[in-house]
């Protein structure tokens, strides 16, 4: 059923005459259900013309007496013209209008610049879907984002003013909010087409995004007059090439007075020569997160790559030994490694290991069974004896917060191999058992002073655990007090340090 009614006829005819496509006409007549927009373009055009032509038939009946049986359309139009010139008959069907309606299947819509003409139809969507399939992403749903050139808002505004004026003559009450937005109508039509072609639902929360960007170079300067009238809306932003962003243009259109607008921009908008151009069709997948715990058995391995002045100082790193495998399997662009604290190059991490999380950026593969993850864990563990991982699992972005808690609040247990300048007996270290909460003042250790602020931090040791434990052992030139040396009245140094446990109960342990 054709969605337009009697009262829409004037507006519809006016818009059609001035070069507006059927779907945009529907929008400006407040047609807010999806079905009409989905019909094929040619069909819509025919239906629209038929709908508008009935008006002329009615006119014949009204003004011609007796009603002629055979009369050519041209003669009819001429007589109607004469009538309107004589002031009889409210309706004026102009000569120019009829010719336009005959030719409008060739015109580029003066409002949507082709977006609701060819760019929402099956052929174009198929082209986009071919690109999506060629990109090699694995997905079970998608979110479709589309970007239109800013000058469309200007044309929309002009069309609205035209329609408003026409409705005013008829005292119709369609408000600005009853006009269907271009992007909304576009999505009504294209979403089902995407779903059908790719076999997946459209879901606003999907991590897989298909984005299409349109541009219309021919009319790029349509917006420029706005900068002269509302200069404060257009502030040059550093990363954007043009100052005429959609947001800025919308802001200016809200501010500008109607008279000022009409002086600068043609109303109705003129017909362009060409349709929009597709600037880009891109696919991207939101990041996925893999967590686990790692053990470090090497005293010669940094956690992150150690590169100074472009030269790698030590081979490999904990981060690379784990992440390189994940990067390959998830077919991701890049990764971000983070962990609950870190240990020095020469410190081992024993026990249950240290929690870590890896963000995989733009992964092409995202669906893995727990069995596949287990196999991946095994692969990592087989590839190196310097590190081992456990509890490898996919986690959400929100869960990463748990891990960072561990750095400050939770406890860690260490064991250290200490050298003293005097031989010591068991009784000399018995005092360590009695120390429950030892308070120490520690200046920022010299070895990190170049990159951290100089400060004195009070620390409390519970059961002999602490940060910067090396400094607690050797005293860091007397800048950590008390220290093992001062407590035992010897000179002490640390030979080896192991992290025995990092007491964070995340990620959840998996039974292997």
């Amino acid at each position: 059923m054709f969605p337009l009614t009697e009262e829409n006829k004037h507006v519809a005819q006016l818009l059609l005459n001035t070069g507006t496509c059927p779907r945009c006409i529907f929008r400006f007549c407040g047609v807010d259900f999806h079905a009409p927009y989905k019909l094929p373009y040619k069909e819509l055009l025919n239906e629209l013309q038929k709908f508008l032509e009935t008006e002329k038939d009615e006119l014949i009946l009204e003004v011609m007496n007796p009603p002629p049986k055979k009369i050519r359309l041209q003669e009819l139009e001429d007589s109607i013209d004469n009538l309107s010139q004589n002031g009889e008959g409210r309706i004026s069907v102009s000569h120019v209008g009829s010719t336009a309606s005959k030719n409008s299947n060739l015109n580029v819509c003066n409002v949507c610049l082709g977006i609701l003409q060819e760019f929402c139809e099956k052929d174009f969507i198929k082209k986009v879907c071919q690109k999506v399939e060629a990109s090699g992403f694995e997905f079970t749903s998608l979110v479709f984002s589309v970007s239109f050139p800013p000058q469309l808002s200007v044309r929309e505004h002009a069309a609205w003013l035209l329609v408003k004026q026409e409705m005013g003559k008829q005292s119709l009450s369609l408000g600005r909010d009853d006009i269907v937005q271009l992007k909304e109508a576009y999505k009504w039509i294209t979403h089902p087409l995407f779903s059908e072609e790719l076999g997946v639902p459209i879901d606003g929360k999907s991590l897989f995004e298909v984005s299409v960007v349109f541009a219309h170079p021919e009319t790029v300067e349509d917006c420029h007059f706005l900068a002269a009238i509302c200069p404060d809306c257009f502030k040059p932003a550093k990363n954007k090439q043009s100052v005429f962003t959609r947001m800025a243009v919308m802001k200016a259109l809200n501010k500008i007075k109607e008279e000022d607008f009409l002086k600068q921009f043609p109303c109705p908008p003129n017909s362009p020569k060409a349709v929009c151009a597709v600037l880009e069709i891109e696919c991207a997948h939101g990041a996925v997160f893999v967590a686990g715990r790692y053990n470090k058995y090497s005293r010669n391995l940094p956690q992150t790559p150690w590169i100074i002045d472009g030269e790698r100082k030590l081979e490999s790193s904990v981060e690379e030994l784990i992440s390189d495998h994940l990067l390959a399997v998830f077919k991701a662009e890049s990764f971000n490694f983070s962990s609950s604290g870190r240990e020095d190059v020469d410190v081992r991490t024993l026990g249950n290991g240290r929690p870590f999380a890896i963000e995989l950026v733009n992964p092409h593969r995202v669906h893995f069974t727990s069995q596949e993850i287990k196999e991946l864990q095994q692969k990592i563990n087989n590839s190196s004896n310097k590190i081992q991982v456990r509890d490898l699992q996919l986690v959400t972005r929100e869960a990463i917060g748990h891990m960072k808690e561990g750095e400050e609040e939770k406890t860690k247990t260490y064991s250290a191999l200490i050298w003293t300048n005097k031989a010591i007996q068991k009784k000399d270290i018995e005092f360590l058992n009695d120390i429950k909460d030892l308070k120490i003042d520690q200046k920022t250790p010299l070895r990190v002073l170049h990159r951290r602020p100089l400060a004195v931090r009070a620390r409390v040791i519970h059961f002999m655990e602490t940060h910067y434990i090396k400094e607690f052992v050797h005293g860091d030139f007397g800048r950590t007090k008390p220290n093992i040396g001062s407590l035992m009245n010897v000179t002490a140094d640390i030979l080896e340090l192991d992290v025995e446990s990092v007491d964070v109960d995340w990620p959840p342990a998996l039974d292997d």
Binding site: R447, L449, H474, G475, D493
Partner: protein, 156 residues
């Protein structure tokens, strides 16, 4: 007759040598020579300047006093009446001075490489390589000192 040296025990590098590289001026300070007793040490190097007033804040260590090679760091007063001014020897920003040597001056002589340090200086990043020009490595220093001792014994 010189005896064969015993098989050397494996030497574990000290804390200083693990994390730092030693650089020397070709001098031997009198204070470190035997027989001297330090009465007191002061960081007040002029009426208006005390190294104790050095206050450093933030990651970029703002507020640090800037030192040239000849800038005085402290004054050492010995029990025999001698007074020595120790200068920075390196250009850079003063991070901290060691207040422990004020309370127990003897550690400067007893533990000159660890607890008896005088100051921590941060050179300008651009000068971090050139700062050691004109200074001797530990090996070079030891060679110079040996030569001097031999020269002194030869002339005596």
């Amino acid at each position: 007759m010189a005896t064969e040296p015993e098989a050397a025990e494996p030497v574990v590098p000290s804390l200083v040598d693990r994390y730092f590289t030693r650089w020397y001026k070709p001098e031997s300070h009198p204070v470190l020579q035997s027989g001297k007793t330090i009465k007191s040490i002061s960081y007040q190097i002029s009426t208006n300047c005390s190294r104790l007033q050095n206050k450093v804040s933030g990651k970029f260590k703002r507020g640090a006093q800037f030192l040239t090679e000849l800038a005085p760091l402290c004054k050492i007063y010995c029990s025999d009446g001698e007074e020595y001014t120790v200068s920075s020897c390196v250009r850079g920003r003063l991070m901290e001075v060691n207040e422990n040597i004020l309370h127990k001056p003897s550690i400067l002589q007893e533990k000159p490489s660890t607890e008896g340090y005088i100051a921590v200086v941060l050179p300008k990043f651009e000068e971090s390589k050139s700062i050691t020009e004109g200074l001797l490595t530990q090996k070079q220093y030891e060679e110079v000192m040996v030569k001097r001792i031999n020269a002194t014994t030869a002339t005596s």
